[in-house]
């Protein structure tokens, strides 16, 4: 990082920076796909809360949402998109840069 870079304010992706959304993104980053119930259990978010965060991530193009039927019940399957994957990797780089060389 150059001295010029250090003077610039850090640009953090606030959409991903929010803890619940970061949890959703990291969970979907390590698996190919998962459904709503699985994410609810892993993130310990309520249905409404999870739904709202997923909507925001989908609007940003970070998630791909597929609806199918399991028997007669609708079933929502979520997958991280290529841009979502890149956004999370960029976020990781930014956070790493912030703490790079920090003591402790």
């Amino acid at each position: 990082m150059t001295s010029e870079d250090k003077r610039r304010p850090v640009k953090i992706n606030k959409l991903i920076h929010e803890p619940a959304r970061l949890q959703i993104m990291t969970q979907l980053y390590v698996v190919e796909e998962a459904d709503f119930l699985f994410l609810m259990r892993r993130t310990r978010l309520t249905w409404g809360n999870l739904s709202s965060h997923i909507s925001k991530l989908e609007d940003a193009g970070y998630l791909e949402v597929t609806k199918e039927f399991l028997g007669k019940k609708p079933h929502t399957v979520l997958k991280i998109s290529a841009s979502g994957r890149k956004a999370l990797e960029d976020y990781r780089k930014v956070i790493n840069n912030i703490f790079e060389g920090a003591p402790g």
Partner: protein, 210 residues
């Protein structure tokens, strides 16, 4: 915090979620219990391929959809990339093929007794089972997966070095006992799983209003 390690632990927890229904143990038990049939009658191997590899996994997936996913949700892990063809891999495979061909030749010419081969099949199989043992340990992060590879190898060696045991009986018995063990383990895990995780009644049917 090492975030690579953290992502790895998230992945391992997801894998453990997938494994807790006991279906993998049940499938493994069914394969092991039927193994003596395929060793004694190699012509039955086509049944093995049709039934165990083609038919059984989709059947278990269908069962999972009905009984497992409504309890803990659905997750699909990334499929592992096939191993890169390296000189080491080629050398190992060549060594394996030469060893098997040599044993078949020596048995065919009567240089070594067929009984001796039967006697050591369990030990060889136990060693082979160390590979899935290590794989499951890596994927789940749980050291207990080392146990089944080690236990199958040790019992296989015990079968091999015990001269009083008739290899024609004890070798098939080795597979049947281990098969039954895994089937029982799978059923116990499934019954505990069903008790621990009731079906989640989601009034919204998991639908996301987007």
């Amino acid at each position: 915090m090492n975030e690579e390690q953290d992502l790895k632990s998230i992945e391992q927890v997801s894998f453990r979620e997938l494994m807790q229904d006991g279906f993998t143990e049940l499938l493994m038990g069914l394969v092991l219990a039927a193994m003596p049939l395929f060793v004694l009658r190699p012509s039955l191997i086509s049944i093995f391929v049709v039934f165990y590899i083609i038919f059984l996994p989709p059947f278990f997936e269908m069962i999972r959809k009905k009984y497992i996913y409504p309890r803990i949700g659905y997750v699909k892990m990334y499929e592992d990339e096939p191993p890169r063809v390296t000189l080491r891999l080629v050398a190992v495979l060549a060594l394996l093929i030469v060893s098997v061909a040599t044993i078949i030749y020596l048995v065919g010419t009567g240089t070594i007794e067929e009984d001796l081969v039967y006697r050591w099949i369990p030990a060889a199989f136990g060693l082979i089972m160390c590979a899935p043992s290590i794989y499951f340990k890596e994927k789940s992060g749980q050291n207990r997966y080392y146990l089944f590879g080690a236990a199958m190898t040790i019992t296989g060696v015990v079968v091999g070095v015990t001269p009083v045991l008739d290899p024609n009986i004890v070798s098939p018995l080795y597979f049947i006992v281990w098969g039954l063990f895994f089937m029982i383990l799978g059923l116990v895990k499934y019954s505990l799983f069903v008790r621990k995780f009731p079906i989640v009644d989601m009034p919204e049917d998991g639908r996301v209003d987007l």
